[in-house]
């Protein structure tokens, strides 16, 4: 209760400034927005995340953007606006999952080599994974789709919105910075799985070996960069054979240049420190530590490293030796020590109720409601480099919104509508209606199929019966 009271006080102070920002932004964006379709969501409890919670608040959407946020009597829509009465309901920004493997066709692991930094999750994305739609029904709108953790350096990730029903080319967030998966510990040293018969286990087999793969990769990348620098500086290019373009080395070079966000799968505190030291040695940052179940032991070191923090599970541990020291207070302890923290899923199922995982951070370690909400929204957005456009309800941001029947931290609440960029991608009532439509479509298709088969049978019969040409018995 005390948490709620604090956030309500904050709201009174901020109310005026919200209104002013709203007015300015409304005018600025009016000219810029191509699609001027307006939607006004009225009289909800608006959880802005970054500017407190507004009871009886309204949000105006124009085209794909939020243009105004404030108390109901201060947000005005144009005459043609579609109005959604959200009285008694809660509006929050779409949940962002910083660790997902949904919507990848084929294996999420290119398992063959210790470093597969040349493979791209973008290439294998599919818009036909129903889990994306199910996650919309749990309020999740954005996910960081990562390569698996089978190798020390895995493939390049994709930050996407669950635009279910749209072509896959429209799913990735265009201005999200590129990223890559690293992995430490049991998985990259193949402790928990074996290759099929006749195939040798691959290097590395120890944690030392994992570190060596990383160091070796960047040592080679420096040589690769030097080779290109020499060639670029040479005067007689037409008569010189250019160096080979190596997509793996180019990716390593981009990491060294600081253009790629590293998302590192890890569990143990010693390894976290090892990777920080390695990154310091080569002069790049680890953007996020993923899973990071022992993060609470080295929270100060993680904060001092100067990356974008940690993405973790709230209460999932003990599933293998290196995860035995996990505790549910990890989120709160890291937060209190200056680490930006998100709760994430690594799971199609968990990704459907990250709101509840965020809520648990209030129970375990005493984060405030606002701090807990941030772990599933703005913190995640900042970690993925998309905090400028999603993660909170602010004028100018993408209209990625979730309307809940009650407080999103209650197990009794459910998602009524999920919107991405002003488009409804999930709506509970629409879904119920579509179930009937799908049933009818299925029946119609099966009838169509049966009729085609009957036509074919009839033709076969007439041929067999009406011809004396010795076609034989076709039954």
């Amino acid at each position: 209760m005390s948490q709620l009271r604090i956030s309500n006080c904050g709201f009174i102070v901020r109310r005026t400034s919200v209104a002013i920002v709203t007015l300015i932004s409304t005018f600025q964006l009016y000219a810029q927005t191509a699609a001027n379709r307006e939607i006004l969501i009225r009289n909800a409890t608006v959880m802005t995340i970054t500017n407190g919670t507004i009871p009886g608040g309204s949000v105006l959407i124009r085209g794909s953007k939020i243009v105004a946020v404030g108390p109901d009597d201060q947000v005005r829509a144009g005459a043609g606006a579609e109005v959604i009465d959200a009285t008694g309901r809660y509006l929050m920004p779409g949940i962002i999952d910083t660790h997902s493997h949904t919507a990848v066709e084929g294996s999420v692991n290119e398992i063959s080599l210790p470093n597969t930094g040349m493979v791209r999750v973008h290439d294998a994305l599919t818009n036909e994974d129903i889990s994306a739609y199910r996650q919309l029904a749990g309020g999740t709108t954005t996910a960081n789709i990562l390569h698996g953790s089978a190798n020390a350096i895995g493939g390049q990730n994709a930050v996407v919105k669950w635009k279910w029903g749209r072509p896959i080319s429209e799913w990735p967030i265009a201005d999200a910075p590129p990223g890559i998966k690293f992995a430490l510990g049991e998985n990259p040293k193949s402790a928990n799985f074996s290759p099929p018969a006749g195939v040798a286990k691959q290097y590395p087999a120890t944690r030392m070996g994992v570190a060596e793969v990383v160091r070796d990769s960047f040592t080679k990348a420096r040589a690769y960069m030097a080779e290109w620098d020499t060639w670029n500086a040479s005067r007689n290019k037409a008569n010189l054979i250019p160096p080979r373009r190596d997509l793996l080395m180019e990716e390593m070079a981009e990491i060294l240049r600081g253009n790629v966000q590293v998302h590192a799968h890890c569990y143990r505190s010693d390894e976290i420190v090892m990777l920080i030291n390695l990154a310091d040695e080569f002069g790049f940052k680890i953007a996020t530590f993923q899973h990071v179940l022992e993060g609470y032991k080295v929270a100060k070191e993680i904060a001092a490293h100067g990356g974008l923090g940690a993405g973790t599970f709230i209460d999932w541990w003990g599933f293998k030796a290196e995860s035995y020291d996990g505790i549910p207070h990890n989120v709160a302890l890291m937060t209190r020590n200056g680490v930006l923290v998100s709760v994430n899923s690594d799971s199609d199922e968990l990704a459907r109720h990250l709101n509840l995982d965020a809520a648990k951070a209030m129970k375990y370690g005493g984060l405030s409601e606002e701090e807990a909400l941030k772990t599933a929204t703005i913190n995640a957005a900042r970690q993925l480099g998309v905090g400028h456009r999603i993660g909170s309800i602010e004028p100018g941001k993408d209209a990625d919104l979730v309307l809940w029947s009650g407080h999103p931290f209650s197990t009794y609440s459910r998602v009524e509508t999920t919107m991405i960029e002003g488009e409804v991608y999930f709506d509970r009532n629409r879904d119920l209606q579509q179930r009937e439509d799908r049933k009818r479509e299925k029946e119609a298709l099966l009838t169509q199929e049966r009729e085609a088969e009957e036509r074919e049978k009839a033709r076969a019969k007439s041929t067999a019966g009406g011809s004396k040409r010795g076609m034989g018995n076709e039954r």
Binding site: E105, G106, S107, V108, N109, E110, I111, S112, L113, T116, M118, V119, R120, V121, D123, A124, T126, N127, E128, G155, P167, I168, S169, F193, S194, P195, P196, A197, G198, V199, A200, Q202, A238, N239, L240, I241, P242, R244, R245, L247, R438, E441, K442, L445, L446, Q448, E449, A452, R455, E456, R459, A460, T463, G466, S467, R469, G470, M471, G472, E474
Partner: protein, 535 residues
């Protein structure tokens, strides 16, 4: 004993059939009185086609008969160009079975797999077509095929064969016709073993080929003081692809795979052709806007045999199954250049597949063009084949009714201007429906295990060369996995549940006279098994 005698007879018969084919010189024929369907021009009632020296010398009405011509009166019949099946892997080695992540240690790979093809692989040199296989194509009116492996990632260079005789090198009409790419991951722990890895591999290989080409040119111009580029025949084989001289065929059926193919083609600026194309029914406008020709496979999905299973399938599966057959009509409506091909379908299902497309709204004229002139145009052999026109190769099919009618029969067949005597009275419409395959249906399998026989009931379903189905018995029940059936040889896996841990059993055997015989590899050892039809 009996079966050995029969085999011997077959060999003798094949020999007898083959000898006259090879020995026969191309004759001079005047095919008169029939309705000529030249394709690419108006039909000619009572037309004449003059064939000389393997080529079409003249076509039209009221053409004077050359004095040396043998007149073949086909009054009341129909004359068509020979059919061109522009995508098949018949006669090429089966792709090796892929060992995948999670395979039980101990399930050794079966049989020695053929080496994976590479960009240099030439189908013209590797294809082995038996007399039986050739006859089975000719007797459905197919006179020309494009053969390409579908194993590996760079499947290699395809060949267009004109099916006269039995000497493959002599059949070649064009080789290489295309380079072909499939999205087949390799076995786990061998790069690339994932779809995204396959795409990364294709991308890097194209870059390497461009680099190799540039390096070779710079080196050959002035080798002094330069390190010699390491010779690489596979990269060299891709040079004509990058120059746009040799088109690339991407094998892709799903919408996502089709889009990936396009992305790769655009990245490397390739001249490309889509093959497979099952999902084109729902993206026909886009396919048109891309300007890509399609080799559309008639390997349409088949429904499960029993009605209950049908209704239990998810909508998206039913949608794809029922609507993919409309793809030809959708592409035709938008004037997308497309051919109908057997692809991964069994060659015996080619004509019945065309008929399904017609039933789903494709006009017979469009269907005919899709198996004659259009594939010839797509593959750049339309000056040689694809229509009945002066100067083209005399591949002709004469039928007693419209060619795709179920009860029409082939009366005469000419390939390279030679009349082909077909083994028996034949028809463009095979009398045996595809469902009467030697493997579809219910089987009783008996595994001779050391502790006694293990009985398994299996229901098998063949889709092209892919075998699916279910099994049940004292050892548990479930789906048949990794199944294949090709030329009487079958392979499939099941997971046995009786032990504390489930284990994979891998069956491989042959089917003859409604009996399966073979061996099964298990975690306990290798045993023999037999199978008979469930009465």
């Amino acid at each position: 004993m009996l079966s050995r005698c029969r085999q011997l007879l077959l060999i003798i018969a094949a020999f007898l059939l083959a000898v006259p084919l090879v020995a026969q010189p191309p004759g001079v024929y005047a095919i008169t009185g029939g309705t000529v369907h030249p394709v690419g021009g108006a039909d000619i009632e009572g037309g004449t086609v003059i064939v000389r020296g393997g080529l079409i010398e003249a076509v039209g009405r009221n053409i004077p008969l050359p004095p040396d011509a043998v007149e073949v009166d086909v009054s009341g019949m129909h004359v068509y160009p020979g059919l061109f099946d522009a995508q098949t892997a018949s006669g090429l080695p089966e792709p090796a079975r892929r060992a995948s992540f999670g395979d039980e240690a101990g399930t050794a790979p079966r049989a020695t797999p053929a080496p994976e093809p590479t960009a240099t692989f030439r189908a013209a040199e590797t294809t082995k077509l038996t007399g039986e296989m050739l006859d089975s194509r000719r007797k459905t009116g197919v006179t020309t095929i494009l053969v390409a492996s579908n194993a590996g990632i760079f499947n290699g260079q395809s060949a267009i064969l004109n099916l006269y005789g039995d000497d493959i090198p002599a059949m070649v009409l064009k080789s290489p016709a295309t380079q072909q790419i499939s999205f087949n991951p390799r076995s786990s722990w061998t790069y690339p073993d994932s779809l995204m890895g396959v795409i990364a591999h294709i991308r890097q290989t194209m870059l390497d080929a461009a680099q190799y080409d540039a390096a070779s040119r710079i080196y050959s111009r002035d080798p002094a003081g330069k390190r010699r580029p390491t010779p690489d025949v596979n990269l060299e084989a891709l040079a004509p692809v990058l120059r746009g001289e040799l088109p690339v065929v991407f094998i892709a059926d799903s919408e996502t795979m089709i889009r990936r193919s396009r992305t790769l083609a655009e990245e490397s600026k390739l001249r490309w052709i889509l093959s497979g194309g099952r999902n084109t029914y729902r993206m026909a406008d886009e396919i048109r806007s891309w300007g890509v020709p399609v080799l559309l496979s008639v390997n349409f999905p088949k429904p499960p045999a029993n009605a209950d299973e049908r209704t239990e399938e998810p909508l998206r599966v039913i949608r794809e199954r029922v609507l993919s057959v409309t793809a030809p009509a959708e592409l035709a409506r938008r004037n997308v250049p497309f051919a109908l091909v057997s692809g991964k379908a069994a060659p015996a299902d080619f004509i019945s597949g065309i008929r399904k497309a017609i039933d789903a709204g494709l006009s017979e004229t469009a269907a005919l063009r899709a198996v004659t002139l259009t594939p010839a145009e797509i593959l750049g052999v339309d000056r040689q084949i694809g229509s009945i026109a002066r100067g083209k190769i005399a591949n002709l099919v004469v039928t007693d009714g419209p060619i795709f009618d179920r009860d029409s029969k082939i009366k005469h067949l000419y390939i390279d201007g030679r009349e082909i005597r077909l083994p028996a009275e034949t028809t463009a419409s095979p009398a045996t429906p595809a469902s009467a395959s030697p493997i579809d249906g219910a089987w009783n399998l008996t595994v001779r295990a050391p502790d006694g026989d293990v009985s398994i009931q299996a229901t098998l379903r063949l889709q092209g060369t892919e075998l699916t189905g279910t099994y049940s018995g004292s050892a548990g029940s479930g789906d048949i996995r990794s199944g294949s059936f090709n030329e009487n040889r079958l392979e499939f896996d099941i997971t046995i549940q009786t032990q504390a841990e489930p284990s994979d059993w891998s069956f491989s055997g042959t089917v003859e006279n409604a009996t399966i015989r073979g061996t099964v590899r298990t975690n306990l050892g290798q045993f023999e098994f037999t199978g008979s039809r469930t009465p």
